[in-house]
Symmetry: C5
Subunit: 354 residues, 5 copies
C-alpha cells in the first residue's frame, strides 16, 4: 500500500466536524496500547483493537491509551464517542498540520505538540503528537513516523520508578512532554555540531557547496525555531491555564520543561546569529579573493600594455626612423622598457595597490 | 454596461452617512435570496427583489438574507431601514475597500471579511463579504465577483445536515466564515506549489524571468498576509467579544476557525522565509556565474598579454637585432612563450585563482 | 510683508506659558468667523475681530468659533481669557510643530491634527488644525495655508443637512475631523497613482531620474505615515477617552473615522512595500544590464586577444621562419584563426556564458 | 590640577554604598548656591561652602540648593547626611554614567537627566543633572561642564515672574526640566541644519569626506536618541508616578514637557530616515559614476581590439599576401576598419549600452 | 584527571529528577565553606566535607554555605536532602547550561546567574552561579572556573563592614549579585577599549585581519548581551517578586543593581551600533580603494589601446603606403599620438573620471 498524502485544501466545502485525515499515511496498521496503573504500579497492559476501546474502569487510578497512526478515521471517531470528546478536537487530531497549542474543554485538556527526530541524511523530521488529559485517563495519538518515543515512560510505569505511578494523568502528560522536549536537545545539539564543522570549512575554503550546506542549515534552524516557539507558549498555557486537571505539584514540573524550551530557543537564536556571521565571513572571503585576483591580473595587464605600445612603435615601417639604424637602439629600448615596468611596479607598490 | 470603479476620494466633502458605492461594479443585476429555516430544516427559500424585503416573520427560527452585488445603493438603504441598521454600517457595506473588522452595535454584530479566489492567470483576487448577525436573522453581502461561495452552507440547510439547522444565526455566521477561511487554504497551497516549482527552476538556471516571477509571488504573499492578518483579530474579536448574540457553543467553533487563520499565517510566514532564501540563492548564483566568467576570461587575457608583448619585440625593425639572425631564434622564442604560458597557468592554479 | 518663520529653539529660556508663535506666517490678516446654531438650524453667522470675541450666549445651542491664522499672539490670548483656557494649551495652538494629540482639560478637550493638501508640484503640504471642544462651544484654529477645509461643514449647518445641527459640539468636532481624514484619502490615492505611473517607467528603462523620483515618493510616504499614525491614536483617545464632553452617539461615528485612519495606514504600508519592491527590481535591472554589457564586451575582447597574438607571431622578423615562405601559409593561418574564434564561441556557448 | 577620569570598573570589590566619584573632574572648585523663596518672591540667596549646609529653615516656602561639580565626595556626603538621603542615591549622583531615570524614595523623589550642549566643533556634549525633589526643598547637582543652564529659572525667581514663586519645589523641578528639554531643541535643530547642508553637498559630488561627515552625524543622531529616549519615560514616570510630592497642577505642565520630548524623538527619527536615504543616494551616485566610467572605457577598448587585430594581419610577413601588393589595399583596409568601428558603435547604441 | 564535558542530550530518556551533571569538570576537588554570622559579626567559618553538612543551628543569625564545583552529584544531593530542596532545583544546579532565572519555591528562592571573567587571550568566559535564599541560610554553588568571586563579601563579613552583618540572607544574596554585576562592568569596559583600538586600525588600513578581529568582537558582544539581558529580568523578578524572603530594605538595593544591568545593556547596545558603523566604514574603504585602483588602471589601458592601434597601422606591410615614405611621417605620427593621449586625459579629467 503506497503512502498517500492528503492536503488541507481537500476539506474545502465539507461541513465543520466532518472527520477527514490530512497528512501522510505512515504506518500500515494502526496499533492501540492501553496501560492501567495505580500507586502500586502497573495494573494491566494490553494491545487492543478499535472495537475493544471503552472508558476507563473504576479500579485503576490512571488509564493511558496510546494510538500509533492517525489515518484511520473510524478508530479516532470511536475513541471520541467512547470518551465523549468534542468533534472539533477529533478533527484536529486527524489533521497533522496542526500548530502546537493547548485547549481547555472543561472536562479534559487537549494539547498538540511536534515530535522532532533526526533523519539519516541529517534532515529534521517532525511528527504530530496529540495528548488529551482527562480526569483519570490520558489519550495520546502519534503519527508513527519515528518509532515510539514514549517507551521510557512505559518502562518507568512498568518498573514503578520515580513519581510517575504515584501521581495522576497530568504528571504522565508532563513526563511525555518532557520526553518530547528532551529529544529537541538532541536535534539542536546535532545542528550545532554541523554548524561548527561547517564553520571550519568556510574559513579555509570558499567552496560554493559549503554555502549551499549553510543555506540548508539556516532553513532548518528557522523551521526548528518555528516548531519550538509555540511549544513554549503551550507549556506556559498548561502551567498557568488554571485547569483543575493540572494539579499543583505538576505545575512545578511544567515550569521546569518550560525553562528547557526557553533554553532551546536561546540556543537556536545563538546558532542563527552564528550562521549569519558565517555567511558574512564567507561572502567577504569570496569577494576578497575575487578582488585580489582581479587586482593582480589588472596590474599585470597594465604593465604590459604600455610596453606593447613601445614595441609597436619600433615595428612601424617608416622609411625614416633613425633609432632603427642605431647600433645600440635595440638594447636601449629593451632597457627602457624594463625601466618603465619597474617604475610602474614601484608606483603601484607605493600606492599600496599591490 | 461597462464596469465602473468608484474611488474613496470621491466621497470627500459628502456629509457622513451619505451612502455611496466605492469599488467595482461586478454584476449587472443585484440578486437577493432569502432562506428561512428552523430545527426541522428549511422552511422557505425565495429570490426576492428589493421591494419585498421585510423584517423576519415570527414563524421561522432563522432568516438568512444574502445580497449578491453591493453597487445598488437603494437596495442596501431599504434593507437598512427594514432592519433598523445604523447608516455608518451601510456606508461600510457599500465601501468595498474596508479592512476586515468586527463591530458590536448592541442588537446586531457586524463583520467584514475578504473572500480570496484564484484567478486563471494565478493572481489572487479578493472580494468583500459583509455579515450582519442579528438575534434571529443574518444578512450577508457579497460583491459577486467569484460566484457564490456560500453554496455549501445552503446545501447543508436544505439537506438539514450537521448542526447548522439546530443552532442560531451565530452558528450560520460561523459556518460562512469557516467556508471563507477554508478557501484561504486552497489559495495558500496553490501559492506554495508555485513557489516549489519556481525553486527548482531558480536552482538550475539564473533566468531573469524566474526572478520576475519570484518577485510577483513575494508581492502576492505580502498582500495575502495583509488580508489574512486582520481576519485573525476579527475572529478572536467575535469569539471573546462578549456579545450575547454569539452563544457559548459557537465560541468553541470560532476558536477552531481562529486556529485555522493562525495556521495560514504561519504557512505564509514560512513561504516568505523560503522566498527570501530563494532570492538569496538566486543572487548568489548569478554573481557566482558572472564572477566565474570574468575570472576565466581575465586569466586568458592575462596569459596572452605578455606573449603578445614578446612577439611584438621580435616584430621591431631594428637593424641590429642579433636574435633575428640566429638559426634557432624562432623555435626558441616559440618554446619560451609556451614556457611563459605554462608557468603562468601553474602560478594561477597554485594560487587557486583558477 | 514677507513670510517669517520662527523656530522652536527661539523659545529657549522663556518662562513656560509665555505665548510665542512658532512656524510660518501664512496669511496676512487673521480672520475670525462665529457660527451659532441649534436644532432648528443656523442662528447667526458673523465675521468678527478679536475685540468682539465673547463666551457663548445662552440662546444658541452650539457656538463655533473658527480662527484662520495663528501668528497673532494677542488674538489667541484674548480668546484664551474669554473662554478660560489653560495657557499651555494656547502655547500649543501657537506652536505649529505640534504632534497630533488629544488632551482632556476637564471642562474642555483639546485636539491637534494635521491637515494635508497636495501642492501643485505634487508635494504634500501639512497644516496644523487645533480643535477645542467645550460644553456648548467649539473653537478651531487653522494656519490658513490651504484655504478653508471646513467649508462643507459650514454648508451642512446653513442648510441644516444631516445630523450636524441636532447634535452638540462633539458631533461638529467629529464632522471636522472626518473632513480632514477624508482629505487624507485624496492625498494617498494621488501618491498611489504616481507610484503606479513610476512602476511602468522603472520596468521599461533604467533611468536614474526615475530612481530619484522613487526616492522622493518614498520620503513622502514616510512623512505621510508619520503624520497619519498619531492621528489614529488621537481619534482612539477621543473615542475611548471617557470625557463626558464626547457623548455616546458621537463615539460610534468616531469609531468610523478611526477605521478610516487604519485604512489609510494600511494603504501607506502597502505602498511602502510596493516601492521597496520597485527599488529592488530597478537595482536588479541596472546591474543585470551592466553585467550583460560587461560580459559580451569581455567575450569579444577575449576572442581577439589570442588572434592578435597569432598575427603578432607572423609579424616577427626572424630570418628563418619557414611558414612565411610557404605558398599557402597566409590562407592556412587565416583559416586557423577563424577556427580558433569559432571554437571559443562554441566553448562560451556550451558553458552558457553567452 | 589635571582632569582625572574615573571609570565604573574601579568600583569592583567595594562594598555597596561606598561613595566614589565616577567620571571627569570638570571644575576646579565645587560651588554651592542656596536660594530661598516664597509666594512673595526671593527671600535669600547665598553662596555657601559645604560646612554651612543645613536642612531648610521653617520660614521660607521653598529652599533650592544647587551644587556645581560632583567630584567632591565629602560635600555630597554631608548634604546626604543633612537631608537624610539614602546612600545609594548619593552613589548615583557621584556616578556620572547614570542612565536618565526617576526613583521615588517616599519622602523625596530622585531624577537623573542628561543636559546636552553643542561644543564648538559641532559635537554634542552631555552632562549629568541630578534633581532631588523634597517636601519643601529641592537639591540639584550639575557636573559644571556647560556653564549654568539654570540661570533663567534663577532670574524668574529673583524677578518673581510667572508661577514659579507661587508654587512648590515640584514646579521648580518642572521648570528646570523644561529648561533642559528646551535646550534639546537647539541641539536637534542644529543637527538638522547640518544634515540639510550635507544633503546639498552629497547630491552634487561623490566626495568621500562627505560620507565620513554623514557617518559622524548618524552616530551623533543615535547617541542623541539614546539620551532623549529614557528622558521621555522619566517625565512620564514623574507625571503618573503617584508621588504626593508632584502636585496636581504641576502634572499638566509635566504632560507638556513630555509632549516636547516626544516631538524631539519624532524629529530625530525623521532625521535618521533622512540620513538613511542620503546614504542610499550617495552610494547609488558613486556606483552609477563608476559604472558609467567602466562602461564607456570598456566600449572604447572593445572597438579598438578588433581593429588592432586587423592591422596585425597586414603586419604579417608572409611572402604570399596578395592584398599587400594591391594598389588600393591600404585605403580599402582603412575604410573597412572605419566601417567596423561605425557598425560596432551603431550596435552598442541600438542595444542601449552606450 | 582529564576534564570531561557532559552534554544535555545525554539526559534524554532519564526520568525527571534524575541528578546528572551537565558541563565541564573544572576543579578536581569540590570544596565547601560554611560561614555563620550575626549582627555582631562572624561567628564561625569552616571548610567542611559533604558528610558534615547539616541545616543551620539556632544560634547564628545567618548561615552561608558556598560550594565550589558542581560535578559531584552526591554532594549536591546530600545538601538537597539536608535542606529539603526540590529535586528539580538540584537538577538545574547540576546543569551548567541554565539560563539566568529566578524561581520562588515558597520556603526558599532560587536564582541562577552567569559570572563573566576575562580570559588571558581576551575571550570572555562564563560560569554558572546558583544562589538559594532561605529564611536564615543561603547556599551558593560556583563552577570554580574563575577563582572565588565572592571573596570581598567574605572580607566584609569577617571585618563586619557595611550593613552586611546587620541584615538577613537576602542582603547577602544582594551583595553577591552586586559583586557579579560589578564584574560585568570590567568585562564591558575591556570590550569597549578593544573596540576603540580596533577603530583606529580600521580607519587607517583595510587589513582583512582587522575585519576578522571586528567579527570576533561583534560575536562576543552578542554573546555578552544574551548573558546580561536575562539577568536584568532576574533582578527585577527578585525585587518585585513578592517573596517574603526578600525584605523591604533589600529591595531598594536590588533596584540599584537593576539599574546597573540596564546601564550595561545600554553600553553593549552602544558598542553594537559602533561596531556596525565600523564595519560599514571598513567595507566602504575597501571598495573605494578597489574602485580607485580599477579606475586608474582602466584609464591607463584605455589611453594606450588606441595608440597601439595607430602604431599597428604603420606596421602594416602594404606596398603602397605613402605616409611611410614621407620624410616627417614618423615624427608626425609620434606627435599625433601624444596629441591623442593628451586629449583623452583632458576628456577624462573634464568628465571627472580621474
Amino acid at each position: 500500500m503506497a503512502k498517500r498524502v492528503r492536503r488541507r485544501s481537500q476539506k474545502v466545502g465539507l461541513a465543520p466536524g466532518t472527520l477527514v485525515h490530512v497528512g501522510e499515511e505512515t504506518v500500515q496498521k494502526v496499533s492501540i496500547t492501553v496501560m492501567e496503573y495505580g500507586e502500586s504500579g502497573l495494573v494491566a497492559e494490553r494491545v487492543v483493537n478499535a472495537e475493544q476501546l471503552a472508558p476507563p474502569r473504576d479500579g485503576a487510578a490512571v488509564t493511558w491509551i496510546n494510538v500509533d497512526g492517525v489515518h484511520h478515521v473510524e478508530i479516532v471517531e470511536r475513541l471520541g464517542t467512547a470518551f465523549g470528546i468534542h468533534p472539533l478536537l477529533l478533527e484536529d487530531v486527524l489533521n497533522t498540520n496542526q500548530r502546537p497549542k493547548v485547549e481547555d474543554f472543561g472536562s479534559y485538556v487537549y494539547t498538540v505538540l511536534k515530535m522532532l527526530s533526526l533523519k539519516p541524511g541529517g534532515r529534521v523530521d517532525s511528527e504530530q503528537v496529540s495528548i488529551i488529559i482527562g480526569d483519570r485517563w490520558l489519550i495520546t495519538f502519534q503519527e508513527g513516523k519515528a518509532g515510539d518515543v514514549f517507551d521510557p515512560a512505559r518502562r518507568w510505569i512498568r518498573e514503578n520508578r520515580g513519581r510517575i505511578c504515584r501521581m495522576g494523568p497530568d504528571h504522565l502528560a508532563y513526563s511525555l512532554i518532557d520526553l518530547i522536549v528532551d529529544n529537541y536537545f538532541a536535534v539542536v545539539e546535532d545542528l550545532g555540531d554541523r554548524l561548527d564543522a561547517l564553520e571550519e570549512q568556510l574559513l579555509t575554503s570558499a567552496d560554493p557547496a559549503a554555502l549551499r550546506r549553510l543555506h540548508d542549515l539556516r532553513t532548518e534552524l528557522v523551521t526548528l525555531r518555528r516548531s519550538v516557539w509555540p511549544v513554549r507558549e503551550v507549556i506556559a498555557g498548561l502551567q498557568r491555564g488554571g485547569s483543575a486537571l493540572i494539579r499543583e505539584p505538576t505545575q512545578v514540573y511544567l515550569r521546569d520543561v518550560h525553562d528547557h524550551t526557553v533554553q532551546i530557543i536561546d540556543a537556536l537564536d545563538a546558532y542563527r546569529d552564528m550562521s549569519a556571521g558565517m555567511l558574512e565571513i564567507y561572502l567577504t572571503n569570496v569577494s576578497n579573493r575575487l578582488n585580489e585576483v582581479m587586482k593582480v591580473l589588472t596590474i599585470i595587464a597594465t604593465i604590459f600594455i604600455p610596453l606593447t605600445f613601445v614595441v609597436g612603435i619600433y615595428g612601424m615601417n617608416f622609411d625614416v626612423m633613425p633609432e632603427l639604424r642605431w647600433r645600440w637602439g635595440y638594447p636601449v629600448v629593451m632597457v627602457g622598457m624594463v625601466g618603465i615596468a619597474l617604475s610602474m611596479v614601484w608606483y603601484f607598490r607605493r600606492k599600496r595597490w599591490w
